[in-house]
């Protein structure tokens, strides 16, 4: 089933939050100002690993304008974590009692009448630390003699994951050629334009209202309620506009919990916003990973076996690290059929900034290793990199043994399109190359480690007498445009226009629960809920219309473009607005309401559906300085049915900019656990002059699991780029880049080593 033509879906629709955003009307948590509001600041640990002997807050409390200082004594050692179902992984104390485990860990918080006074008060808090030996690298922390970071956790191994299918050893026996490589993948900062921010207001009726820059108002609500001992229903989380998330904003962060704790004590609103420096040093980052990859292949290019071991730098706490550990290992097999596959992942605690989910969720790292090694194997054996990928690629109906069932799969078409595009470029000048990488990604996970009793996504639609529609969803718009995507699905399903729909989101008091914007789940899961709710409402309208119109039983009715009509005879019908008026009167004045929900059941171990893509990066290297210039990025992409046209282009280009940053610009170097570049001068984010053209070729598939055949688009697109750039450099210069980011210095070093090796031959 091809990309059908729709009235609203996949047409040029303005983002429904656009006017608010381009006129400065959109109010973010960063902008919230309430009467009597106090300003909170956080005191952070200067040590990577230390016992807290004593905290003296008296001088700070005495500073005029300071209203409260809180420490672990006020939060009673309560622990929290996003993996709510697994107590041992809820390892982060909401303000530590006994010890600190990374530089930047919140230790105390102050609320004062001005930001300046709050900051001055921080200097007056005296913390007595007993510094402990610290360890910063996972391969060091896993040694027997390493200091123990969490009591009772042996060898600092936080979580392990094992994925296996087939007889791996036998599959290696079948291989004609085996190659093994080590890779080192860096961390990355989410670097949202809006730093972590929260405004909490606890009132004398025992209720908490919290504005939060969050990817999931529901998770924030649940986590806050949990640590504060409140009922979830007595906590209201508001997130009308969020300045970016990228995977870093759906856990309970210090802005949320310190503002809430202080507000509970003072019964006054308290605002806590991270500075950019705090955002760098104390909001969790993408997981740095050491990957060992061993691959066996037949000389005709058939993949036999892969065995990989991965050690990740978990930092001081679990965060979303357990999921990243699993997904990295799973997508490391993507998008190919392996006779035997084995992955062992070890997430190791260290005394550094905790790592967590970030767009791609472990897959960019996994692809950097897998896709480069595949190209090197092709070079070793004289095989064509396109042909090898086509030969082994996933196909429709394939089952990743014990893990996933692939329904729609446009991988082969993606490979064909990119192959055509690369060939059309012809011979490139010296020091310039095009590299490719293919991958796939999940459209939402089946996991419920949060232990939510609710459907993963829900929607409620209400039709007003004038035909306008209230759509209540729990999915969170963090910039990716989910409000617009849901409005598009609603408008298409109901047969109205996008401007008829008002989307309500980002308010737990008015919206149904939804797991939120992570794991690329919302288009598929919330989209399905919205479609179901609108079909429910439309059915009620049409039931009335059938009776009202008194037509022959063989005819069907539908609504399109605000016109309720007989499908076979579209000229016969009545205006949608008239139908609504009559239907409402027939219901004794009750508005038509529809409900929808979606939870994946029996959809394998990962996801109900997978996107696929192949990306090519055209890059040029200055052979004398090592400087990298990206000329162009081209992606052939299968996201099933595109829903939000402008949104999709934005996601592709945005993902490319972030993924390019990961590949060659962004780094988080640490010295003894201290981040060396916690600012935007030294942390290099791609800017407009460096951003290349990033074209997209959409491949036509239909995903049965998704609304109108849609799958994810936007997170998967961050996965291939680092690998594609590495392969471009390999094609241009013949050097293998095994470490991220790919810097000029590393390029020159590799060129020198290559020259020396050739001289020796």
């Amino acid at each position: 089933m091809s990309h059908a033509k729709y009235n609203v879906i996949n047409t040029h629709v303005h983002n429904i939050d656009g006017v608010a955003k381009v006129t400065g009307r959109a109010t973010y948590t960063f902008d919230v100002k309430l009467p009597g509001m106090l300003y909170g600041k956080i005191l952070r640990s200067p040590h990577a690993h230390a016992k807290i002997k004593n905290i003296d807050t008296s001088a700070a409390m005495a500073l005029p304008g300071v209203k409260i200082v809180v420490t672990g004594k006020d939060t009673l050692g309560v622990k929290q974590g996003i993996w709510r179902r697994y107590e041992e992984l809820c390892d982060e104390q909401v303000l530590p009692l006994e010890k600190v485990r990374y530089i930047g860990e919140p230790v105390a918080a102050v609320a004062a009448i001005t930001e300046e006074i709050a900051e001055a008060a921080l200097d007056l808090i005296e913390v007595d630390y007993e510094v402990l030996p610290a360890v910063y690298e996972p391969l060091e922390a896993i040694k027997k003699e390493a200091p123990t970071i969490h009591e009772g956790v042996e060898r600092n191994v936080n979580v392990t994951r094992h994925i296996e299918w087939g007889d791996v050893d036998e599959a290696f026996e079948e291989a004609d050629y085996i190659r093994e490589d080590w890779f080192k993948c860096s961390g990355q900062a989410h670097m949202c334009m809006e730093t972590r921010a929260a405004v909490s207001s606890f009132t004398p009726d025992g209720k908490l209202t919290c504005w939060a820059s969050t990817q999931s108002a529901y998770y924030t609500q649940g986590l806050l309620a949990g640590v504060l001992g409140l009922r979830e229903g007595d906590v209201r989380v508001l997130a009308p506009y969020v300045g970016g998330g990228f995977g870093g904003k759906f856990e309970l962060d210090a802005a949320m919990f310190t503002s809430a704790v202080m507000s509970m004590k003072l019964f006054k609103p308290v605002k806590v916003c991270f500075t950019r420096e705090e955002d760098f040093i104390a909001s969790k980052r993408r997981t740095p990973m050491f990957y060992y990859v061993r691959t066996g292949i037949k000389k005709d290019g058939t993949f036999c076996a892969r065995e990989s071991r991965m050690f990740s730098n978990g930092g001081a706490y679990t965060g979303m690290g357990a999921t990243a550990l699993y997904l990295s290992g799973f997508f490391h097999s993507f998008p190919y059929k392996w006779r035997g596959y084995r992955y062992d992942g070890y997430r190791v605690y260290t005394n550094t900034l905790p790592s967590t989910s970030m767009r791609g969720f472990g897959a960019p790292q996994a692809m950097f290793c897998s896709e480069q090694q595949i190209d090197w194997i092709c070079a070793d054996l004289g095989l064509d990199p396109f042909e090898v990928r086509r030969k082994n690629g996933h196909t429709e109906g394939y089952e990743v043994p014990g893990q996933a069932f692939i329904q729609s799969c446009g991988l082969e078409q993606c490979i064909n399109e990119i192959e055509k595009w690369v060939k059309s470029k012809g011979k490139l000048p010296a020091n310039r190359g095009i590299g490719i990488s293919s991958c796939g990604f999940m459209s939402g996970g089946i996991f419920n480690w949060f232990d939510s009793p609710y459907s993963f996504s829900s929607a409620v639609v209400t039709i007003n007498v004038d035909g306008t529609v209230e759509l209540h969803v729990g999915c969170q718009d963090i910039g990716q445009g989910s409000n617009t995507t849901m409005a598009i699905i609603a408008a298409e399903t109901l047969g109205v226009k996008v401007e008829d729909i008002r989307v309500h989101s980002g308010d737990t008091a008015h919206c149904p629960a939804d797991l939120g914007a992570w794991g690329s789940r919302q288009t598929l899961m919330a989209g399905n809920a919205v479609k179901m709710a609108c079909e429910d409402a439309k059915k009620q309208l049409l039931e009335f219309a059938y009776a009202e119109m008194g037509i022959n039983i063989v005819y069907d009715l539908d609504i399109k473009d605000r016109w309720a009509h007989i499908v076979a005879r579209p000229e016969r019908g009545l205006p949608y607005v008239d139908l609504v008026k009559k239907a409402l009167r027939a219901k004794d004045g009750q508005r038509i309401m529809g409900r929808g929900y979606y939870t994946p059941h029996r959809k394998g171990m990962i996801s109900p559906a997978y996107s696929y893509m192949m990306q090519a990066v055209d890059a040029e290297i200055d052979p004398e300085t090592g400087k990298i210039k990206i000329h162009e990025v081209m992606t052939a992409h299968d996201c099933g049915q595109p829903i939000n046209q402008l949104g999709l282009i934005g996601q592709l280009e945005g993902a490319a900019s972030m993924a390019l940053g990961y590949a060659y610009l962004e780094d988080m170097p640490m010295e003894d656990g201290k981040l060396m570049n916690p600012n935007l001068v030294d942390y290099k984010v791609i800017k407009a002059p460096e951003m290349p053209e990033a074209g997209i070729i959409e491949i036509d598939t239909f995903e049965p699991e998704g609304p109108y055949g849609a799958k994810e688009a936007g997170e998967g697109l961050t996965n291939p780029t680092a690998a594609a750039l590495g392969n471009a450099i390999y094609n241009a210069m013949g050097i293998q880049m095994k470490e991220l980011p790919i810097t000029p210095e590393r390029v020159l070093k590799a060129l020198r080593e290559k020259k020396e090796q050739e001289a020796q031959k």
Binding site: T23, E653, V681
Partner: protein
């Protein structure tokens, strides 16, 4: 250490505020005048989210002492629309989807507005340079460049 009076125009209106001379322009705009369209995203004059126009030129308002604007005209994102009619660049942003989370957008619009007012048939590279001082983490910039290009090519007229 003494506060003093600052008289200047913001979005065409005369304002008088009583401030410490160390107050930054962005603080006056956001905290004293309540115009929160202009954002802040860093402490090192790097991100551009605070960009406003001073006498038509784009400036990062986090890096200007408000008192230096005595007698000058400041324009913020709130000043781009006229009686509910959006400016050409705002309309172009809507058409091209040149924003996602929207946090960088006010600053981006101000840089674009200043550039458009002085640029004659700019090249794509010149357009990219015009927003070099504004970081966007969401869009990858190309849709913003397309929006500016459309305006400089004359595709949008003042309403």
């Amino acid at each position: 250490m003494e506060k003093q009076v600052l008289r200047f125009k913001v979005n065409g209106d005369e304002y008088e505020v009583f401030i410490h001379p160390k107050t930054l322009l962005v603080e006056v705009i956001r905290d004293h005048l309540g115009l929160t369209g202009t954002k802040r995203g860093c402490e090192t004059v790097s991100c551009g989210a605070c960009t406003v126009n001073i006498n038509g030129a784009s400036v990062k308002s986090c890096s200007v002492l408000a008192v230096q604007c005595e007698g000058l005209e400041v324009t913020t994102v709130e000043g781009l629309e006229k009686d509910g009619k959006l400016s050409p660049i705002q309309r172009s942003f809507l058409d091209h989807g040149s924003f996602q989370c929207g946090f960088c957008t006010p600053g981006m619009l101000m840089s674009a507005t200043a550039f458009i007012s002085e640029a004659k048939n700019p090249t794509k590279d010149q357009i990219k340079e015009s927003i070099e001082g504004n970081i966007c983490r969401c869009t990858g910039y190309n849709s913003i460049v397309r929006a500016i290009e459309a305006v400089t090519a004359g595709k949008y007229k003042e309403e």
